[in-house]
Structures are given as structure tokens and as C-alpha cells.
Amino acid sequence: MRATAAEETQTGGLVLLALASWAVPGAGHLWLGRRSKGLVFLIALPAMFAFGLALSGRIFSFDLSEPLAALAALADLGIGVTYFAAGALGYGAGQVRAVTFEYGNAFLIVAGLLNSLVVIDACDIAKGRK
């Protein structure tokens, strides 16, 4: 069965919404008019990520020879553009010897995972499930 033009437009809009929501935490909620929620995500999630960087956490890169590091990279990537911006600016090298290294990693990984939940929530709202 072929999708109608309206359904295809809706799907395209949903993909765009998901991408925006992933790239900038809270952007999806702001787009959908949930301003207060969007603002909280926009401030809290990058702040959590920045906290992780300040704690000498490491932004993991995709290395398939180390499956756990690849999974951590996938989780880190959940934060969106901030992941690439931090890498480009030279942050996230990680200091293994720092006392707060593992704490920093936890902050970075959880910030990415929470943003993934935010993306799913934005899609649910757009689909009318919430």
C-alpha cells in the first residue's frame, strides 16, 4: 500500500523534528510549542554535558575494536551538535589520571542518553501519543 502525500509530508516533518531535537536539545519541544519543557532541556542537557567535560571526561570516538567504547560514543553522540562542537574545540580528550574522569564520563554519557529520550518524547508529542 502506497503512502498518501499527506502521510509522506507528515513523515518528512517528523524526521525533521527528530533531527532538530537531536541536534539541539529541546528544539523539538520548542518547535511544538512546549516552551517551558524545551527551555529546561535546552539549558540542562548542554550544562550536564559541559559539566562532564569540566570533570575531565572523555568524548569517546567510534572504535569498533573496543565495543564498550563504541557504545559510549553512541551514547555521547545523543547530545547532538554539542558532541561535534566540543570535539572541534579540542574538549573531551579526557584525563584518565584525573580523580573525576569516570564521573565526567558518566555525565557525558547520561546527557547524551537523556537527549535521546527527549527526541523520542518530541516524536511522541508530534504523533499525538502524548
Partner: protein
């Protein structure tokens, strides 16, 4: 900043805030759920910490 307790509190704050805002729509419910989550995080960590205290490193 290497205080384990402070880092635990900051981590709990962020996670509770995002979860509360994500799952509840009403502001009162968000505050109630957020405070409950935050307390749960901190208390369970402190209790678990004390339970592990007698266990040798």
C-alpha cells in the same frame, strides 16, 4: 571538585530535573516527582554506601 557526595548531588539534580520535566506535564507534579526522584537517588546512594562500608576494598 572531587567531592563524591557533591558530584552525586549534581548528577542526581540534572537527571531528576530532566526526568520530571519529561514525564509530567503539570508543574506541581513535575516538582513533586523531581523532588521524589532526587531524594531517592541521594538516599539510596548514601544507604548503599553505608551497607558497603564493612566490605573490605
Amino acid at each position: 571538585m572531587a567531592s563524591h557526595l557533591l558530584l552525586l548531588v549534581v548528577f542526581s539534580f540534572f537527571v531528576s530535573l530532566v526526568f520530571a520535566v519529561l514525564t509530567k506535564d503539570d508543574v506541581r507534579e513535575q516538582i513533586r516527582f523531581g523532588v521524589l526522584l532526587f531524594g531517592g537517588f541521594v538516599c539510596s546512594a548514601v544507604v548503599l554506601g553505608w551497607l558497603m562500608y564493612p566490605i573490605p576494598l
